[in-house]
Amino acid sequence: MTTRRPLLGVMLFALTLSGARAQQGAVEHLKQTIDAVLHEADRAASHEALGKAVRPMLEKRVGFETMTKRAIGPGWRQFSTVQQAQAVDLFTALIIRSYASKFTPGERPVITYKGSVSTQPQRVEVPTTLVYRGSQYAVSYRMELTDGWRITDVSIEGVSLVANYRSQLDAAFRSGGAASVLKALQKTNNT
Protein backbone atom coordinates (compact mmCIF):
# COMPACT_ATOMS: atom_id res chain seq x y z
CA MET A 1 0.00 0.00 0.00
CA THR A 2 2.77 2.39 0.95
CA THR A 3 4.40 2.04 -2.47
CA ARG A 4 1.08 2.33 -4.31
CA ARG A 5 0.18 5.72 -2.86
CA PRO A 6 3.15 7.60 -4.35
CA LEU A 7 2.56 5.75 -7.63
CA LEU A 8 -1.08 6.80 -7.65
CA GLY A 9 -0.01 10.35 -6.88
CA VAL A 10 2.46 10.33 -9.79
CA MET A 11 -0.23 8.95 -12.12
CA LEU A 12 -2.73 11.61 -11.05
CA PHE A 13 -0.09 14.28 -11.47
CA ALA A 14 0.75 12.98 -14.94
CA LEU A 15 -2.95 12.96 -15.87
CA THR A 16 -3.38 16.53 -14.59
CA LEU A 17 -0.28 17.57 -16.50
CA SER A 18 -1.45 15.97 -19.74
CA GLY A 19 -4.87 17.60 -19.26
CA ALA A 20 -3.24 20.98 -18.72
CA ARG A 21 -1.06 20.45 -21.80
CA ALA A 22 -4.11 19.50 -23.86
CA GLN A 23 -5.89 22.67 -22.69
CA GLN A 24 -2.82 24.74 -23.50
CA GLY A 25 -3.00 23.15 -26.97
CA ALA A 26 -6.52 24.51 -27.34
CA VAL A 27 -5.39 28.05 -26.53
CA GLU A 28 -2.48 27.77 -28.97
CA HIS A 29 -4.81 26.42 -31.65
CA LEU A 30 -7.18 29.34 -31.11
CA LYS A 31 -4.35 31.90 -31.19
CA GLN A 32 -3.01 30.49 -34.43
CA THR A 33 -6.48 30.54 -35.99
CA ILE A 34 -7.19 34.13 -35.03
CA ASP A 35 -3.70 35.30 -36.04
CA ALA A 36 -4.14 33.65 -39.44
CA VAL A 37 -7.49 35.40 -39.96
CA LEU A 38 -6.04 38.76 -38.87
CA HIS A 39 -3.11 38.27 -41.25
CA GLU A 40 -5.51 37.67 -44.14
CA ALA A 41 -7.74 40.56 -43.03
CA ASP A 42 -4.84 42.99 -43.45
CA ARG A 43 -4.36 41.88 -47.06
CA ALA A 44 -7.93 41.28 -48.22
CA ALA A 45 -9.50 43.82 -50.56
CA SER A 46 -13.03 43.20 -49.28
CA HIS A 47 -14.99 41.24 -46.71
CA GLU A 48 -16.07 38.84 -49.44
CA ALA A 49 -12.44 38.26 -50.47
CA LEU A 50 -11.49 37.71 -46.83
CA GLY A 51 -14.25 35.14 -46.42
CA LYS A 52 -13.05 33.24 -49.50
CA ALA A 53 -9.42 33.40 -48.39
CA VAL A 54 -9.98 32.09 -44.87
CA ARG A 55 -12.62 29.42 -45.58
CA PRO A 56 -10.20 26.54 -46.35
CA MET A 57 -8.19 27.26 -43.21
CA LEU A 58 -11.27 27.70 -41.01
CA GLU A 59 -12.81 24.46 -42.28
CA LYS A 60 -9.85 22.63 -40.75
CA ARG A 61 -10.01 24.49 -37.45
CA VAL A 62 -13.70 25.09 -36.79
CA GLY A 63 -16.21 22.30 -36.17
CA PHE A 64 -18.78 23.60 -38.66
CA GLU A 65 -20.67 20.30 -38.79
CA THR A 66 -21.00 20.23 -35.00
CA MET A 67 -22.09 23.87 -35.00
CA THR A 68 -24.69 23.27 -37.72
CA LYS A 69 -26.06 20.20 -35.97
CA ARG A 70 -26.45 22.05 -32.68
CA ALA A 71 -27.81 25.20 -34.32
CA ILE A 72 -30.56 23.14 -35.95
CA GLY A 73 -31.25 21.05 -32.85
CA PRO A 74 -33.32 17.86 -32.60
CA GLY A 75 -34.65 18.37 -36.16
CA TRP A 76 -31.18 17.51 -37.48
CA ARG A 77 -32.00 13.79 -37.22
CA GLN A 78 -34.81 14.21 -39.71
CA PHE A 79 -32.51 15.68 -42.37
CA SER A 80 -31.39 13.30 -45.11
CA THR A 81 -27.62 12.90 -45.61
CA VAL A 82 -27.79 15.20 -48.62
CA GLN A 83 -29.79 17.80 -46.68
CA GLN A 84 -27.32 17.62 -43.79
CA ALA A 85 -24.43 18.28 -46.18
CA GLN A 86 -26.32 21.20 -47.73
CA ALA A 87 -27.11 22.63 -44.31
CA VAL A 88 -23.45 22.42 -43.22
CA ASP A 89 -22.32 24.11 -46.43
CA LEU A 90 -24.87 26.94 -46.15
CA PHE A 91 -24.34 27.47 -42.41
CA THR A 92 -20.54 27.50 -42.90
CA ALA A 93 -20.89 30.16 -45.61
CA LEU A 94 -23.14 32.24 -43.35
CA ILE A 95 -20.85 32.06 -40.33
CA ILE A 96 -17.73 32.87 -42.36
CA ARG A 97 -19.46 35.80 -44.07
CA SER A 98 -20.64 37.13 -40.73
CA TYR A 99 -17.19 36.67 -39.16
CA ALA A 100 -15.32 38.24 -42.09
CA SER A 101 -17.58 41.30 -42.06
CA LYS A 102 -16.33 42.23 -38.59
CA PHE A 103 -12.76 42.91 -39.74
CA THR A 104 -11.41 46.12 -41.21
CA PRO A 105 -7.95 46.03 -42.85
CA GLY A 106 -5.36 47.73 -40.67
CA GLU A 107 -7.58 47.80 -37.57
CA ARG A 108 -6.30 45.02 -35.35
CA PRO A 109 -8.17 44.19 -32.17
CA VAL A 110 -6.12 43.67 -29.03
CA ILE A 111 -6.90 40.19 -27.72
CA THR A 112 -6.00 38.95 -24.25
CA TYR A 113 -6.22 35.19 -23.79
CA LYS A 114 -7.15 34.18 -20.25
CA GLY A 115 -6.16 30.52 -20.34
CA SER A 116 -8.79 27.81 -20.59
CA VAL A 117 -11.40 26.20 -18.40
CA SER A 118 -12.31 22.54 -18.79
CA THR A 119 -16.09 22.18 -18.87
CA GLN A 120 -16.42 18.48 -19.76
CA PRO A 121 -13.93 15.83 -20.89
CA GLN A 122 -12.40 16.94 -24.21
CA ARG A 123 -14.12 20.32 -23.97
CA VAL A 124 -12.77 23.69 -22.89
CA GLU A 125 -13.89 27.28 -22.79
CA VAL A 126 -11.24 29.83 -23.72
CA PRO A 127 -12.24 33.25 -22.35
CA THR A 128 -10.65 36.27 -24.00
CA THR A 129 -10.96 40.01 -23.79
CA LEU A 130 -11.11 41.86 -27.06
CA VAL A 131 -10.55 45.59 -27.34
CA TYR A 132 -11.60 47.01 -30.70
CA ARG A 133 -12.16 50.64 -31.66
CA GLY A 134 -11.96 51.66 -28.00
CA SER A 135 -14.63 49.24 -26.79
CA GLN A 136 -13.97 46.14 -24.74
CA TYR A 137 -15.82 42.86 -25.27
CA ALA A 138 -15.80 39.55 -23.41
CA VAL A 139 -15.42 36.88 -26.08
CA SER A 140 -15.38 33.22 -25.10
CA TYR A 141 -14.60 30.32 -27.42
CA ARG A 142 -15.85 26.79 -26.88
CA MET A 143 -13.43 24.19 -28.17
CA GLU A 144 -13.67 20.40 -28.44
CA LEU A 145 -10.99 17.78 -28.96
CA THR A 146 -11.89 15.38 -31.76
CA ASP A 147 -9.16 14.71 -34.34
CA GLY A 148 -7.55 17.91 -33.03
CA TRP A 149 -9.00 20.97 -31.36
CA ARG A 150 -12.03 22.48 -33.08
CA ILE A 151 -13.86 25.71 -32.26
CA THR A 152 -17.53 24.82 -31.80
CA ASP A 153 -19.07 28.04 -30.50
CA VAL A 154 -18.27 31.68 -29.86
CA SER A 155 -19.97 33.80 -27.20
CA ILE A 156 -19.76 37.57 -27.28
CA GLU A 157 -20.84 39.25 -24.04
CA GLY A 158 -22.55 36.02 -23.05
CA VAL A 159 -24.44 35.67 -26.34
CA SER A 160 -23.71 32.33 -27.96
CA LEU A 161 -23.61 32.24 -31.74
CA VAL A 162 -24.97 28.68 -31.85
CA ALA A 163 -27.75 29.39 -29.33
CA ASN A 164 -28.75 32.46 -31.29
CA TYR A 165 -29.09 30.53 -34.55
CA ARG A 166 -30.76 27.63 -32.70
CA SER A 167 -33.67 29.88 -31.73
CA GLN A 168 -34.09 30.91 -35.37
CA LEU A 169 -33.45 27.60 -37.14
CA ASP A 170 -35.53 25.59 -34.69
CA ALA A 171 -38.48 27.88 -35.49
CA ALA A 172 -37.83 27.42 -39.22
CA PHE A 173 -37.74 23.63 -38.77
CA ARG A 174 -40.98 23.59 -36.82
CA SER A 175 -42.71 25.64 -39.50
CA GLY A 176 -41.64 23.55 -42.51
CA GLY A 177 -39.05 20.88 -41.71
CA ALA A 178 -35.63 20.51 -43.33
CA ALA A 179 -36.72 22.21 -46.56
CA SER A 180 -37.72 25.32 -44.61
CA VAL A 181 -34.36 25.43 -42.80
CA LEU A 182 -32.41 25.08 -46.04
CA LYS A 183 -34.54 27.75 -47.73
CA ALA A 184 -34.03 30.14 -44.79
CA LEU A 185 -30.26 29.61 -44.84
CA GLN A 186 -30.13 30.05 -48.61
CA LYS A 187 -32.19 33.24 -48.42
CA THR A 188 -30.00 34.72 -45.66
CA ASN A 189 -26.84 33.88 -47.59
CA ASN A 190 -28.22 35.64 -50.66
CA THR A 191 -29.15 38.89 -48.91
Binding site: R77, S160, A163, Q168, T188
Partner: protein, 246 residues
Protein backbone atom coordinates in the same frame (compact mmCIF):
# COMPACT_ATOMS: atom_id res chain seq x y z
CA UNK B 1 -66.78 41.04 -8.67
CA UNK B 2 -64.74 43.73 -10.30
CA UNK B 3 -62.93 42.81 -13.47
CA UNK B 4 -59.22 42.52 -12.78
CA UNK B 5 -57.36 45.44 -14.21
CA UNK B 6 -55.42 44.59 -17.38
CA UNK B 7 -52.20 45.91 -15.86
CA UNK B 8 -52.71 43.70 -12.81
CA UNK B 9 -53.11 40.67 -15.05
CA UNK B 10 -50.02 41.61 -17.01
CA UNK B 11 -48.08 42.13 -13.79
CA UNK B 12 -49.15 38.79 -12.35
CA UNK B 13 -48.39 37.01 -15.60
CA UNK B 14 -45.07 38.76 -15.92
CA UNK B 15 -43.94 37.53 -12.53
CA UNK B 16 -45.54 34.12 -12.45
CA UNK B 17 -43.33 31.75 -10.43
CA UNK B 18 -43.89 29.19 -13.18
CA UNK B 19 -41.73 31.35 -15.40
CA UNK B 20 -39.11 32.04 -12.76
CA UNK B 21 -36.52 29.56 -13.87
CA UNK B 22 -35.68 27.87 -17.15
CA UNK B 23 -36.14 24.09 -17.13
CA UNK B 24 -33.00 21.96 -17.29
CA UNK B 25 -31.58 21.10 -20.68
CA UNK B 26 -33.06 18.02 -22.32
CA UNK B 27 -30.86 15.29 -23.71
CA UNK B 28 -30.49 15.42 -27.48
CA UNK B 29 -31.34 12.52 -29.78
CA UNK B 30 -27.75 11.29 -29.77
CA UNK B 31 -27.67 11.14 -25.98
CA UNK B 32 -25.52 14.24 -25.71
CA UNK B 33 -26.77 16.89 -23.27
CA UNK B 34 -28.55 19.53 -25.35
CA UNK B 35 -27.51 22.66 -23.52
CA UNK B 36 -28.87 24.94 -26.24
CA UNK B 37 -32.43 23.61 -25.96
CA UNK B 38 -33.67 26.12 -23.40
CA UNK B 39 -30.94 28.74 -23.46
CA UNK B 40 -33.00 31.40 -25.24
CA UNK B 41 -36.49 30.57 -24.02
CA UNK B 42 -38.77 33.36 -22.82
CA UNK B 43 -42.56 33.57 -22.81
CA UNK B 44 -43.70 35.71 -25.73
CA UNK B 45 -47.50 35.66 -25.76
CA UNK B 46 -47.59 39.14 -27.29
CA UNK B 47 -45.43 38.12 -30.24
CA UNK B 48 -47.66 39.62 -32.92
CA UNK B 49 -47.75 43.01 -31.20
CA UNK B 50 -44.06 42.73 -30.37
CA UNK B 51 -43.19 42.00 -34.00
CA UNK B 52 -45.14 45.08 -35.12
CA UNK B 53 -43.32 47.21 -32.53
CA UNK B 54 -40.02 45.68 -33.61
CA UNK B 55 -40.76 46.66 -37.21
CA UNK B 56 -41.60 50.21 -36.09
CA UNK B 57 -38.44 50.44 -33.98
CA UNK B 58 -36.32 49.21 -36.87
CA UNK B 59 -37.58 52.13 -38.99
CA UNK B 60 -36.99 54.59 -36.15
CA UNK B 61 -33.43 53.33 -35.72
CA UNK B 62 -32.74 53.36 -39.45
CA UNK B 63 -34.34 56.64 -40.47
CA UNK B 64 -34.07 58.75 -37.32
CA UNK B 65 -31.40 57.44 -34.92
CA UNK B 66 -28.79 56.47 -37.52
CA UNK B 67 -28.67 59.95 -39.08
CA UNK B 68 -28.48 61.53 -35.60
CA UNK B 69 -25.71 59.11 -34.66
CA UNK B 70 -23.88 59.85 -37.91
CA UNK B 71 -24.00 63.62 -37.26
CA UNK B 72 -22.88 63.08 -33.65
CA UNK B 73 -19.88 60.93 -34.62
CA UNK B 74 -18.97 63.25 -37.52
CA UNK B 75 -19.18 66.53 -35.62
CA UNK B 76 -17.47 65.46 -32.40
CA UNK B 77 -13.94 64.03 -32.46
CA UNK B 78 -13.48 60.56 -31.03
CA UNK B 79 -11.59 61.82 -27.99
CA UNK B 80 -14.45 64.17 -27.08
CA UNK B 81 -17.05 61.42 -27.51
CA UNK B 82 -14.95 59.12 -25.34
CA UNK B 83 -14.88 61.79 -22.62
CA UNK B 84 -18.66 62.24 -22.82
CA UNK B 85 -19.21 58.46 -22.63
CA UNK B 86 -16.89 58.27 -19.62
CA UNK B 87 -18.68 61.12 -17.83
CA UNK B 88 -22.12 59.56 -18.34
CA UNK B 89 -20.84 56.18 -17.21
CA UNK B 90 -19.30 57.76 -14.13
CA UNK B 91 -22.57 59.56 -13.33
CA UNK B 92 -24.38 56.21 -13.34
CA UNK B 93 -22.47 55.18 -10.20
CA UNK B 94 -25.64 55.05 -8.01
CA UNK B 95 -27.18 52.56 -10.45
CA UNK B 96 -24.14 50.29 -10.16
CA UNK B 97 -24.00 50.78 -6.38
CA UNK B 98 -27.68 49.89 -5.86
CA UNK B 99 -27.36 46.95 -8.25
CA UNK B 100 -24.28 45.61 -6.45
CA UNK B 101 -25.68 46.05 -2.93
CA UNK B 102 -29.04 44.50 -3.84
CA UNK B 103 -27.20 41.43 -5.09
CA UNK B 104 -25.16 41.24 -1.90
CA UNK B 105 -21.96 42.01 -3.78
CA UNK B 106 -20.55 44.27 -1.08
CA UNK B 107 -16.93 43.95 -2.20
CA UNK B 108 -17.96 44.99 -5.70
CA UNK B 109 -19.99 47.89 -4.24
CA UNK B 110 -16.85 49.08 -2.43
CA UNK B 111 -14.82 48.80 -5.62
CA UNK B 112 -17.51 50.67 -7.59
CA UNK B 113 -17.28 53.45 -4.97
CA UNK B 114 -13.49 53.53 -5.30
CA UNK B 115 -13.82 53.73 -9.07
CA UNK B 116 -16.30 56.61 -8.81
CA UNK B 117 -14.10 58.56 -6.39
CA UNK B 118 -11.00 58.06 -8.50
CA UNK B 119 -12.65 58.99 -11.79
CA UNK B 120 -14.52 61.96 -10.29
CA UNK B 121 -11.35 63.47 -8.82
CA UNK B 122 -8.23 62.40 -10.71
CA UNK B 123 -10.37 61.77 -13.79
CA UNK B 124 -11.70 65.38 -13.84
CA UNK B 125 -15.36 64.76 -13.14
CA UNK B 126 -15.34 61.41 -14.88
CA UNK B 127 -14.10 62.62 -18.26
CA UNK B 128 -11.08 60.34 -17.89
CA UNK B 129 -10.91 56.80 -16.50
CA UNK B 130 -7.83 56.50 -14.28
CA UNK B 131 -9.69 53.58 -12.63
CA UNK B 132 -8.53 51.45 -15.56
CA UNK B 133 -4.94 51.85 -14.35
CA UNK B 134 -5.69 50.41 -10.90
CA UNK B 135 -6.25 46.65 -10.56
CA UNK B 136 -8.81 47.06 -7.75
CA UNK B 137 -11.08 49.29 -9.87
CA UNK B 138 -10.25 48.02 -13.35
CA UNK B 139 -12.87 46.40 -15.65
CA UNK B 140 -15.70 46.32 -13.11
CA UNK B 141 -18.90 44.85 -14.54
CA UNK B 142 -21.95 47.09 -14.85
CA UNK B 143 -24.51 46.03 -12.25
CA UNK B 144 -28.19 46.90 -12.35
CA UNK B 145 -31.52 46.23 -10.66
CA UNK B 146 -32.63 43.71 -13.30
CA UNK B 147 -29.71 41.52 -12.28
CA UNK B 148 -30.65 41.89 -8.61
CA UNK B 149 -34.25 40.83 -9.31
CA UNK B 150 -32.97 37.81 -11.24
CA UNK B 151 -30.68 36.92 -8.31
CA UNK B 152 -33.71 37.04 -6.03
CA UNK B 153 -35.35 34.41 -8.22
CA UNK B 154 -37.72 36.67 -10.14
CA UNK B 155 -38.31 35.27 -13.61
CA UNK B 156 -38.40 37.30 -16.80
CA UNK B 157 -42.15 37.00 -17.19
CA UNK B 158 -43.36 38.17 -20.58
CA UNK B 159 -41.12 39.45 -23.32
CA UNK B 160 -41.94 43.00 -24.40
CA UNK B 161 -40.68 45.14 -27.22
CA UNK B 162 -40.99 48.71 -25.97
CA UNK B 163 -41.57 51.34 -28.64
CA UNK B 164 -38.26 53.05 -29.49
CA UNK B 165 -36.43 51.52 -26.50
CA UNK B 166 -36.42 47.91 -27.72
CA UNK B 167 -36.43 44.52 -25.98
CA UNK B 168 -37.41 44.08 -22.34
CA UNK B 169 -39.40 41.82 -20.05
CA UNK B 170 -41.60 42.20 -17.02
CA UNK B 171 -38.63 41.84 -14.70
CA UNK B 172 -36.31 44.06 -16.70
CA UNK B 173 -38.98 46.74 -17.04
CA UNK B 174 -39.15 47.04 -13.24
CA UNK B 175 -35.33 46.98 -13.08
CA UNK B 176 -35.11 49.70 -15.71
CA UNK B 177 -37.53 51.85 -13.71
CA UNK B 178 -35.37 51.60 -10.58
CA UNK B 179 -32.19 52.22 -12.59
CA UNK B 180 -33.78 55.25 -14.26
CA UNK B 181 -34.67 56.74 -10.88
CA UNK B 182 -31.21 55.98 -9.48
CA UNK B 183 -29.41 57.64 -12.39
CA UNK B 184 -28.51 61.26 -11.50
CA UNK B 185 -28.66 62.12 -15.19
CA UNK B 186 -32.46 61.90 -14.91
CA UNK B 187 -32.94 63.51 -11.50
CA UNK B 188 -33.70 67.06 -12.67
CA UNK B 189 -36.21 65.67 -15.13
CA UNK B 190 -37.82 63.42 -12.51
CA UNK B 191 -38.24 66.13 -9.86
CA UNK B 192 -40.28 68.14 -12.31
CA UNK B 193 -38.02 70.74 -13.78
CA UNK B 194 -39.43 71.54 -17.21
CA UNK B 195 -37.88 71.97 -20.61
CA UNK B 196 -37.49 75.69 -20.02
CA UNK B 197 -34.77 75.16 -17.43
CA UNK B 198 -32.73 72.77 -19.58
CA UNK B 199 -33.43 69.71 -17.42
CA UNK B 200 -33.93 67.71 -20.59
CA UNK B 201 -30.33 68.17 -21.77
CA UNK B 202 -28.58 65.49 -19.60
CA UNK B 203 -31.00 62.63 -20.44
CA UNK B 204 -31.24 63.56 -24.12
CA UNK B 205 -27.46 63.94 -24.29
CA UNK B 206 -27.13 60.53 -22.65
CA UNK B 207 -29.43 59.00 -25.27
CA UNK B 208 -27.56 60.60 -28.19
CA UNK B 209 -24.17 59.60 -26.75
CA UNK B 210 -25.30 56.00 -26.39
CA UNK B 211 -26.65 55.76 -29.96
CA UNK B 212 -23.44 54.68 -31.78
CA UNK B 213 -22.81 51.76 -29.40
CA UNK B 214 -26.50 50.80 -29.17
CA UNK B 215 -27.03 50.87 -32.93
CA UNK B 216 -23.84 48.89 -33.47
CA UNK B 217 -25.11 46.15 -31.12
CA UNK B 218 -28.51 46.17 -32.82
CA UNK B 219 -26.87 45.77 -36.23
CA UNK B 220 -24.67 42.95 -34.95
CA UNK B 221 -27.76 41.13 -33.77
CA UNK B 222 -29.86 41.63 -36.91
CA UNK B 223 -27.26 41.44 -39.67
CA UNK B 224 -26.96 37.89 -41.01
CA UNK B 225 -29.98 36.89 -38.95
CA UNK B 226 -32.47 34.42 -40.39
CA UNK B 227 -35.22 36.12 -38.39
CA UNK B 228 -34.02 39.45 -36.93
CA UNK B 229 -36.87 39.57 -34.39
CA UNK B 230 -35.98 36.15 -32.95
CA UNK B 231 -32.29 36.97 -33.05
CA UNK B 232 -32.74 40.16 -31.01
CA UNK B 233 -34.98 38.34 -28.51
CA UNK B 234 -32.41 35.56 -28.16
CA UNK B 235 -29.60 38.10 -27.75
CA UNK B 236 -31.58 39.90 -25.06
CA UNK B 237 -32.30 36.73 -23.05
CA UNK B 238 -28.74 35.43 -23.27
CA UNK B 239 -27.20 38.80 -22.49
CA UNK B 240 -29.31 39.30 -19.39
CA UNK B 241 -28.67 35.75 -18.17
CA UNK B 242 -24.94 36.24 -18.65
CA UNK B 243 -25.07 39.52 -16.69
CA UNK B 244 -26.89 37.78 -13.84
CA UNK B 245 -24.51 34.81 -13.71
CA UNK B 246 -21.45 37.06 -13.73
Amino acid sequence: MNKPHLLTLLFLAAFSPLLAAAPPAKPADDGERDEYAESTVIADPLERVNRATFWFNDKVYRFLFEPISKVYTTVLPKVVRRGIDNAYENAKYPVRLVGSVMQGKLDLAARQSGKFLLNSTVGIGGLLKPSQKVDWTKDLPAEDMGQALAKWGVGHGFYFVIPVMGPSSGRELVGMGVDYAANPVNWLWIIGSGAEDWAWIPPVGNTVASLPEGLSRYKDSTKDAIDPYTSVRSTFVQNRRSATER
